[in-house]
Symmetry: C2
Subunit: 349 residues, 2 copies
């Protein structure tokens, strides 16, 4: 029997803490025969475990004294809280005791600890955060959604490569299509960064379909959309904000009318199905790609289902050897990568 | 009696052409005692005018032989179609025969013709396109939404200044607040462009409230949100796309259930009020700020109401001497502007 895949879960992360994280992690371990390491306040986790059935599950508590708060600065968290649950989870990964990390805590601190503790895959200059978004047709991967605010063209190419392997290995999309997020679909549209990245993508072995626009994210006609982390993060927060504000405005109108209230009661099931399609918990978390060990960053408001799905996704990433495939992909694209860097050197002269 | 404010309207622009544009322009002229110049195919406009009441309205047709198609490249349209309706509208403005221009046509061509024909206000390096967006509380101005893809920090400051004067003079917001669109609210968050622009805004006389995130656009806690035209255009198209895709997904679910269909029928009025809050036609168009003459770019799908409101907005801009106020604002900010440019020169060394 091969060794079980082991995921270290930051049990203290997220708005709801271990009460939500622990059951989610256990559920994942149960469903796919995984091992989970619950990292955090031992006493608190023990109390929760006592209420759960752990029969047949391989689970261990790894005590961590400190917790990084949601509002703490990543750099300071890294420096001052060396015994935080998120830091300890990555240390377990570095020591080979865990194959991947899942956290619903401070995402900036997760990025910082990941970079510092397990480090990048050789050849990847900038690990990037991908987000799996619902669309009219199928899930769409948006990368980078916030790990890198100032990017070079060859960074975008690497983001595309990482997302492509993730889409193949984890989302099981065959020959995924990639587009560059810009303004206007024709070649030559966009800012300098995108225009230069366009040329690199055209040379690559990726299934590049050209430029896509903001509206294409939800159409679902392309599997992966690549952008720099500034644009991607603005986009992500804008989507969250728009969806929530539309909901608030709609609720306000409905409250005003008895008929409307009745109407929405009748449509309750349809609305529930609608919400389910948009439920981030279906994919659980945003994969942080390019580290030596996979890490998934979950939404702070994650419920147990989201945690469960994130742990399963991390395990699937490990099981399907996505990082090995990434290294292969990198070597195939080495020349184009160099081309991108060369172009930069020439510009500087 | 003072001379009537005169707006040149590109009668051929938009998906629906003069059949929609002409009635909208007439309606505006009627309601605020304006003069309108309808620029385009004389015969076609005459036929439409014959069906409308023009009593007491000062209206003239200015013939233009050519029309720029929605998909044409702006640079080519400018070079090849010297007698297009949009180009002619700007020529009328340059010659002092019109005080402003409104077009629902090719927005890229409108920008290009505006820049080329009437030119920039002295001191404004980059005219910018502002969009007036609905929010939970009050309209929010987002600037730039696509005129400038690669920006420098002092360009963002100028965008803010232009939007501030527009918000005061046209939207009648007293002492409007401004925020910089970025990722994370604390000072020092964002990419290099935003971080440097932050310092310039802090030095300015503007009512700068700091960084805002994508989700803040719809909260309505800040009056003006400044970003570069790449980010702004991605954001704008993303909002359009998300709203339309959410609608499509919801419709799909409702269709599946008889109860849901009944429910939505009951809630019809509330839904209509909800849609009204999001109706772009309420503001009509996106002002192109920084040109010697105001121009408004309307959505291609504009209805007559949108055209009417855009013409009224252009007239209000002229009436309230917004461009004169902009020149005053520019002179007040000259030193900060220079500081921004100086920082750039130092960097290059």
């Amino acid at each position: 029997m091969s060794k079980r895949i082991c995921i270290a879960v930051d049990a203290m992360g997220g708005d709801h803490g271990p009460e939500v994280v622990v059951p989610g992690a256990l559920e994942a371990a149960r469903s796919k025969n995984l091992k989970v390491l619950l990292v955090g306040d031992e006493a608190r986790i023990k109390t929760i475990l006592a209420q759960e059935s752990t029969k047949g599950i391989e689970v261990e508590i790894v005590h961590a004294e400190e917790v990084v708060g949601m509002e703490e600065k990543p750099s300071e968290a890294l420096r001052r809280k060396k015994n935080s649950s998120i830091q300890k989870a990555f240390i377990l990964a570095r020591e080979g005791k865990a194959d991947g990390v899942v956290s619903a805590g401070n995402s900036g601190a997760t990025l910082a600890c990941g970079m510092f503790t397990v480090g990048r895959i050789k050849g990847i200059e900038r690990p990037a955060l991908a987000s799996i978004l619902p669309s009219e047709k199928k899930p769409v991967v948006l990368i980078d959604v916030g790990a890198n605010v100032d990017c070079k063209p060859h960074h975008l190419l690497q983001f595309g490569l990482m997302a492509e392997i993730f889409a193949r290995d984890v989302l099981k999309i065959q020959n995924p299509t990639l587009g560059l997020l810009t303004i206007g679909e024709e070649e030559g549209k966009g800012n300098t960064l995108v225009r230069e990245a366009y040329n690199l993508f055209k040379l690559s072995f990726l299934n590049f379909v050209g430029n896509v626009e903001g509206r294409d994210i939800f159409k679902g006609n392309v599997d992966i959309i690549v952008c720099d982390g500034f644009v991607g993060n603005v986009a992500l927060k804008l989507m969250e904000g728009l969806a929530s504000s539309l909901g608030a405005l709609l609720k306000e109108e409905i409250k005003k009318s008895f008929l409307a209230k009745m109407g929405f009661l009748l449509a309750k099931k349809a609305l529930k199905n609608f919400s389910k399609k948009l439920d981030y918990a279906e994919y659980g978390g945003a994969p942080l790609l390019g580290l030596k060990k996979i890490a998934l960053v979950c939404h702070g408001a994650s419920n147990s289902k989201a945690i469960k799905n994130a742990v399963l996704m991390a395990a699937s990433f490990v099981k399907n050897k996505a990082n090995e495939h990434l290294e292969e992909g990198l070597s195939m694209h080495q020349e184009i990568n160099l081309l991108g860097k060369k172009a930069l050197t020439t510009q500087k002269k």
